[in-house]
């Protein structure tokens, strides 16, 4: 799952990125409103974390523009302002959730997971299929109760496929959601990740539609 983090405080960005990456999320970080507006409109993010008080352009106006252009990506707004008016303004502008600073990082992670689950229509954070259990909260998997070690890229691929279960995902789409903006995107490596996942979790979980992409059966 690829997340855009727009926050002007560099240290806070590092902390959030560290946290979300540990859960297998791909995080693009921007520090000003202009860049946030641009990336949010052009890149296929699964979620956006948006600070309201960004330099150059404020978060609310960016959010309104996205929503006006039909971008429905879930947006979690961060605000350092106490006022309820700011929070309502944010939700009225189309945000899905808000968090007031200073927040606890686990709280942020929980809000991100909840927003992703809501957008995928899943209510249960645990994915279970034929003895494979994947906890989308922490990116941990077990096969028949035995823990399986997954790399962060494998977690990213699996999470995206589970969140979009029942839908055919092309290699290009998959690569767009597991690599950072300026990362080295090589769709051939996707096949490598899929093969490794099949080895670790069993061959039936992920289906390959030759030349078209991959799919996990719907819930």
């Amino acid at each position: 799952m690829r997340i855009l983090l727009a926050e002007d405080e560099v240290v806070l960005c590092d902390q959030i990125k560290r946290l979300l990456s540990a859960e297998g999320r791909i995080v693009d970080v921007v520090h000003d409103g202009q860049e946030a507006g641009f990336l949010g409109s052009t890149e296929p993010y699964d979620m956006i974390i948006l600070d309201i008080g960004l330099p150059i352009r404020d978060g609310i106006s960016i959010l309104k523009e996205w929503r006006g252009n039909g971008i429905t990506t879930p947006v979690l707004i961060l605000t350092a302002r106490d006022g309820w008016s700011d929070r309502v303004d944010g939700l009225d502008a189309g945000a899905d959730d808000y968090l007031t600073k200073p927040f606890h990082l686990p709280e942020l992670a929980a809000r991100v997971r909840a927003a992703l689950r809501r957008s995928s229509g899943r209510t249960n954070p645990l994915f279970e299929r034929d003895g494979v259990v994947f906890d989308t909260r922490h990116g941990r998997a077990t096969v028949h109760g035995v823990p399986v070690d997954l790399t962060s890229q494998e977690v990213a691929v699996l999470t995206y496929l589970i969140h979009n279960a029942g839908r055919l995902i092309s290699r290009t789409e998959l690569s767009e959601h597991i690599y950072e903006y300026d990362g080295d995107r090589d769709s051939n490596t996707i096949a490598v990740f899929i093969n490794r996942l099949r080895k670790k979790l069993g061959p039936e979980l992920i289906q390959t539609m030759r030349g078209r992409g991959y799919m996990i059966d719907g819930p």
Partner: protein, 466 residues
């Protein structure tokens, strides 16, 4: 200080009375003078008449009585007399004197002397007397006199009619002072009404609507209004900046500490200290906010619109948690309270309701005789009556099982008090949990009332504590 109206009345009244009195006195003495001159001229004419008559009958002055046939000279004590003293001291008088004689200066002079004399034998008279030398060389003292009774009566009459005129003019003068005062005061009265009226709508006053003497005051008032708005918005901005400047570093610090705490370090004390910093920060910012509210702001807010915003927001949040949120709000309700303050109150109280309710919460806004009532109810555990006062204390948390700062209820209460509104905690009759009942008083007429002293003082002390 003495009111302008009273000043105008008093000074206008005094000026009118003084000028009228002086005018009347001058007029009276002028008329007096003229009456006396006329009287003296008539006296002189009669004196000349006697001298002429004497000239023709100086051989036999006793004939004078026949020559001077004015009936008043014949009637005893008629008030008009003549008296001639011959060279050898012989005395000839008008019959009106009977056997009395006219008083006069002891030494008769050859120049004509006119004077008023009190005469014990007759009455007070005006006397004209002269020493006359006839052609034959004989010298005679000729005197005529006339009673002053008539002159005095005329003077009295003049005085009376003057006083009547004076009274009439005085009444007109005082009335015109009142009219003038009212006309001068009218722009000031209008200014007062206008200020009250426009204050409500947060508009500036138009200088062109006022006389040039009042226009600078209007400009000053506009300046004050603008400054008032500016101060409020600046302090709010400062509070927001302060919040931003402190909260982000605090978040960073907390995150680093949390990561370290997951390792081997025991950082509970540090995290606890940071909690205290955050709590104090939240409280101080809330105080800062309250200090800039209430009477300081005079904007009107569409309450129904704000309720609609929160209905959408909490409807969504409640739905996510599988809870039901029922909203009933009359349309078109407005209150005199800053929009951000209204939303602060609604947000804090609805947040509490959502946090504590089991499955249902409700918001009811309606017009009541005593003002607009906002009722927020939930089906949660409620607050026992004995604990309700404690629940209003800033930072008080009766139940720490759910996250929170314990500030929400206290902030809402402080804000409402600043506007003269009330907040009461009750049992919810329909949902069984807590009911928070807010009563916003009906809109007040600002012009006639100063903010209650009791409210200004705690605001100041709150600000001072920061």
């Amino acid at each position: 200080m003495l009111s302008l109206r009273k000043r105008a009345w008093i000074s206008g009244g005094i000026a009118a009375l003084v000028s009228l009195s002086v005018g009347t006195l001058l007029l009276y003495s002028f008329l007096n003078q003229r009456v006396l001159q006329r009287f003296d001229r008539a006296l002189l004419d009669r004196h000349t008449q006697i001298v002429v008559a004497l000239n023709s009958v100086s051989e036999d002055p006793a004939l004078l009585g026949e020559l001077l046939f004015d009936p008043d000279y014949q009637t005893p004590f008629s008030g008009r007399y003549w008296q001639v003293t011959g060279p050898d001291g012989q005395l000839f008088t008008s019959s009106s004197l009977l056997d009395a004689t006219l008083p006069g200066p002891a030494e008769a002079s050859s120049t004509l002397t006119i004077l008023s004399v009190a005469n014990p034998e007759v009455e007070e008279v005006r006397l004209a007397q002269q020493l006359i030398t006839l052609e034959d060389g004989s010298t005679w003292t000729v005197a005529v006199a006339e009673t002053l009774a008539e002159l005095n009566a005329e003077r009295l009459e003049t005085r009376r009619s003057l006083l009547a005129a004076f009274a009439l003019v005085a009444v007109i003068g005082l009335a015109s002072v009142l009219v003038q005062t009212a006309s001068i005061m009218r722009p000031l009265d209008r200014l007062r009404r206008d200020v009250a009226h426009r204050w409500d709508r947060d508009e500036d006053l138009s200088e062109a609507d006022y006389p040039e003497e009042v226009a600078p005051l209007v400009a000053d008032i506009n300046g004050l209004l603008a400054r008032n708005r500016e101060i409020i918005s600046r302090s709010r901005r400062q509070a927001a900046d302060l919040a931003h400047a402190l909260k982000t570093p605090s978040a960073i610090l907390r995150n680093e500490l949390s990561v370290l705490a997951e390792g081997t370090h025991d950082l509970d004390k540090a995290l606890e200290a940071l909690d205290r910093v955050d709590a104090q920060l939240g409280r101080s910012l809330a105080r800062l906010r309250t200090a800039n509210s209430g009477e300081a702001t005079q904007t009107r807010t569409d309450l129904s619109h704000s309720v609609g915003r929160f209905a959408r927001m909490f409807g969504m949040l409640a739905e996510r948690e599988g809870k039901a949120f029922r909203i009933a709000c009359e349309p078109g309700l407005t209150i005199r309270m800053d929009a951000q303050d209204v939303e602060e109150v609604l947000g804090n109280l609805l947040d509490n309701a959502l946090k504590w309710c089991r499955s249902r919460m409700a918001l009811t806004v309606r017009k009541q005789p005593q003002g607009i009532e906002v009722l927020i109810e939930d089906d949660g555990p409620g607050i026992p009556e004995a604990d309700r006062a404690e629940a209003m204390r800033p930072g008080a948390r009766l139940d720490t099982s759910k996250p929170g700062t314990g500030l929400g209820l206290a902030i809402a209460n402080d804000l409402l008090q600043a506007y003269g509104a009330t907040l009461a905690l009750e049992d919810s009759a329909t949902l069984g949990g807590l009911a928070v009942r807010i009563t916003l008083p009906p809109e007040r007429v600002r012009a006639s009332k100063e903010p209650p002293r009791g409210q200004a003082a705690p605001q100041a002390s709150r600000a001072g504590n920061l």
